[in-house]
Symmetry: C2
Subunit: 300 residues, 2 copies
């Protein structure tokens, strides 16, 4: 079934120990869409400026990502991020952020998009996320991502969002910040108490944890030897999780775990090259083979 994502579309300039790229296509909605496109038809909602190369849109369309919800703002410039990864590359140092047209992003869903059953609200202000959610009139499953900035500045609005969504993605530091709990297992349960049916805590190179009323489930990251650029790992992980969930007829408890495994595998591909480059070179067969290897690895 179709999957809608609302989030950022960016031009990223990234430096890692493996090299430098300038103005590469990025942003949460892009990484999410590309990853999810291996599982289900994706509908992307975002905004760019007049400087956005049309080749990027064509490339997404070739992956069957419906970009009719990607607005080009007249006279505006695309959101730009410049960052650097050093050492173990576990955290990015942000060198420059230019919100540009993203600063006033106020998405309006077309009737077709508003009917999408699966919805992912990528990182953005909880107020904006709630506004999108209210437009998704045929939603079956809505999952949001968030970040420390919104926990610090819009906590009440975020609480309201958490009462309305089915699932939440956040990273380990954000889970601790949101709940005041240092122990991640306790933090996970506390986030679950705030409303969602499931919570996924992302731990980067250390994997991810799933909390739901069926219990807690922990997955290691895929053992990747060659991390070239971690940008987009979290969003492509979410894309794999939601993409897989959208592609199966129902969601019994076990499906969430399998979905997380798909997300883990997709994220492990993403980090093997800059930006979207590695995801462009993969296919469903390779993804399934890596999933099978991962599944065998965890079997004893």
């Amino acid at each position: 079934m179709p999957l809608l994502v609302v989030g950022s579309v960016a031009l990223d300039s990234v430096e890692t120990p493996h090299g430098i790229v300038e103005d590469a296509l990025g942003g949460s909605a892009v990484f999410f869409s590309y990853a999810a496109s291996y599982f289900t038809p994706v509908r992307l909602v975002g905004v760019v400026g007049e400087d956005f190369p049309s080749a990027h849109r064509d490339m997404l369309e070739r992956r069957k990502v419906d970009t009719s919800g990607l607005i080009i703002e007249k006279g505006g410039s695309t959101f730009r991020w410049r960052g650097k990864y050093e050492g173990d590359m576990s955290t990015a140092e942000t060198l420059e952020v230019h919100l540009n047209v993203l600063g006033t992003f106020d998405p309006d869903l077309s009737p077709k998009f508003a009917d999408t059953p699966f919805v992912f609200l990528a990182n953005g202000s909880p107020a904006m996320q709630r506004k999108v959610l209210s437009q998704a009139r045929k939603r079956q499953l809505v999952v949001a991502d968030t970040m420390n900035f919104w926990i610090e500045t819009q906590r009440e609005e975020l609480y309201a969002l958490l009462r309305e969504v089915d699932g939440l993605f956040l990273n380990d530091g954000e889970a601790r910040m949101l709940t005041g709990e240092i122990n991640l297992v306790r933090a996970g349960w506390k986030v679950l108490d705030l409303g969602p049916r499931f919570v996924i805590i992302k731990k980067g190179e250390h994997g991810a944890m799933l909390f739901s009323h069926d219990g807690v489930f922990v997955m290691p990251a895929f053992p990747t030897e060659e991390v070239v650029d971690p940008t987009g790992a979290g969003d492509s992980f979410a894309g794999g999780v939601l993409g897989y969930l959208s592609s199966v007829p129902d969601q019994p408890p076990g499906q969430l775990r399998r979905a997380m495994a798909y997300g883990t595998v997709i994220a492990s591909l993403t980090v093997e090259d800059f930006g979207l480059e590695r995801l462009k070179r993969t296919n469903r067969k390779e993804i399934d083979e890596r999933l099978h290897w991962y599944q065998q690895m965890l079997h004893f």
Copy 2:
């Protein structure tokens, strides 16, 4: 089959956010022995001072740990460590160390102990570890642990040890220090190139990785809600791994993974209370139930 451990026996004073204990029984050989005793008969080699309470030895003997190799040094004092854990408790702050009788520890195996087929050389100087190894004349499997101090100060001796042992345990920071590799997967392969048949990298609350000629295998830590005191987690993990390996008739590749799962489960029990307290309250049935739950968790 019997399992020999050579390592420290300590009186630990520990402060964590959950409380304080003074002069609790600890040390690498103790945590290892106690954990392994749920799987196989254990023989302990260590040294203490005249201040060592005989009740501790009795308690170990009741767990079928043969303490005939525990030397009481006349006029000496037992090794003492005082440490503090704060925040996420991932690392201990050492407040005091008194090596005392451990400073001149020079183990001499009795003929019975020298015939033990399975040997664990807990953290100690590589020179001392090699000396013990040379006495273990009927060894079938020898596994060592090490730490940053020996990597910094006795690297050549450590290299010699690595050519003689079957397996090595070390933590993530030590693996990086030993190999100069930031990426842990690459670091693991590089340690394997130094000689052992398998290498286990411990990542604390993030689990552990196994490297062998059969490939790489990553396991998450058990999702523990109540971490009271992390002291001894790594040594009881090793005790679970080696204890299980000693208890099965042969070591096909898959057994190492199952052994790591047992180590993971034992370590998850250790941290639920101070010192050995939680391990004292467990039994093989509880360990096996937790293993089963963990195995199911990783199945999708």
